[in-house]
């Protein structure tokens, strides 16, 4: 699976305005409304579902990364977005550190495998310091796309 298989490029947010976990999740789900990937009527339900799951256990997996996600009936396929926070968000992460990189995933109700494969893809790339470093240095949407594309083509390893 490639990152480009599920990351909606127009929804990428290189500089999050929000500063709390809830606001960030709202901002990211709102960005998925571009091109109707998420419909207006579904937005609140998706945000609530993601927040509810965060209460059950944080997706702040450490190294400044979080992977908030939910299944939702409205999703016909797995979609996601990437967002960067300059200031850092408190996500109650496993390592206690603030989060600067977020991958948000919305997946169809009946295909948990897709979601797992996306997580596997994301975490495979996150294991390289270069991926994290280049993402954090990206200041524009286009620069974020470059990092994701390079990762997909395994061009990040030098």
């Amino acid at each position: 699976m490639k990152l480009s298989d599920f990351v909606i490029r127009e929804a990428v947010l290189p500089d999050l305005a929000a500063s709390t976990k809830e606001e960030v999740i709202r901002e990211m789900v709102a960005s998925l409304r571009t091109d109707g990937h998420v419909k207006n009527g579904d937005e609140e339900g998706i945000v609530k579902a993601i927040l509810k799951r965060e209460e059950q256990g944080t997706t702040g997996i450490g190294r400044g990364v979080a992977v908030p996600h939910t299944k939702h009936a409205s999703a016909s396929r797995l979609i996601g977005t990437v967002a960067l926070s300059r200031k850092g968000i408190d996500f109650q992460s496993l390592d206690g550190e603030p989060v600067h990189i977020l991958f948000l995933l919305v997946s169809p109700s009946d295909r948990p495998g897709d979601h797992l494969r996306a997580l596997e893809t994301i975490s495979r790339h996150l294991r390289t310091d270069v991926f994290i470093r280049f993402l954090r240095q990206a200041t524009t949407r286009e620069k974020v796309w470059e990092v994701l594309d390079d990762a997909d083509m395994n061009q990040l390893f030098s």
């Binding site: 609530k48 109700s109 948990p112 797992l116 495979r124």
Partner: protein, 99 residues
């Protein structure tokens, strides 16, 4: 000094598989022990104390994993982890979307 090597067969029972949240629970538990803790599937070995390692397992419901614990507290660790898996890593009641 002889390090104990303890092995257990585990099964991923929760419907959504070993995604971020249950993986985080496992990592937090594994890090409480001194021994090395590895989850093995086929030829791949994953460090249970590393969230990134665990998420690259991408273990779906029904996956069979071999737990290997090596060290002075291997038995205690293996028991605790086995129990966590039997309990579905706290994710058994993952409901379909609420909307």
């Amino acid at each position: 000094m002889d390090d104990d090597l303890v092995r257990r067969q585990l099964c991923v029972t929760n419907p959504e598989g070993l995604h971020a949240r249950p993986a985080a629970k496992l990592v937090q538990l594994a890090n409480q022990f001194q021994c090395e803790i590895t989850l093995v599937r086929g030829s791949q070995r994953h460090d249970a104390k590393s969230i990134m390692d665990l998420m690259t397992l991408a273990a779906e419901q029904g996956s069979k994993l071999l737990l290997e614990a090596r060290g002075c507290d291997a038995h205690v660790a293996a028991d605790a982890i086995e129990k966590l898996f039997v309990e579905g890593l706290g994710d058994l009641d993952a409901n379909p979307d609420d909307a």
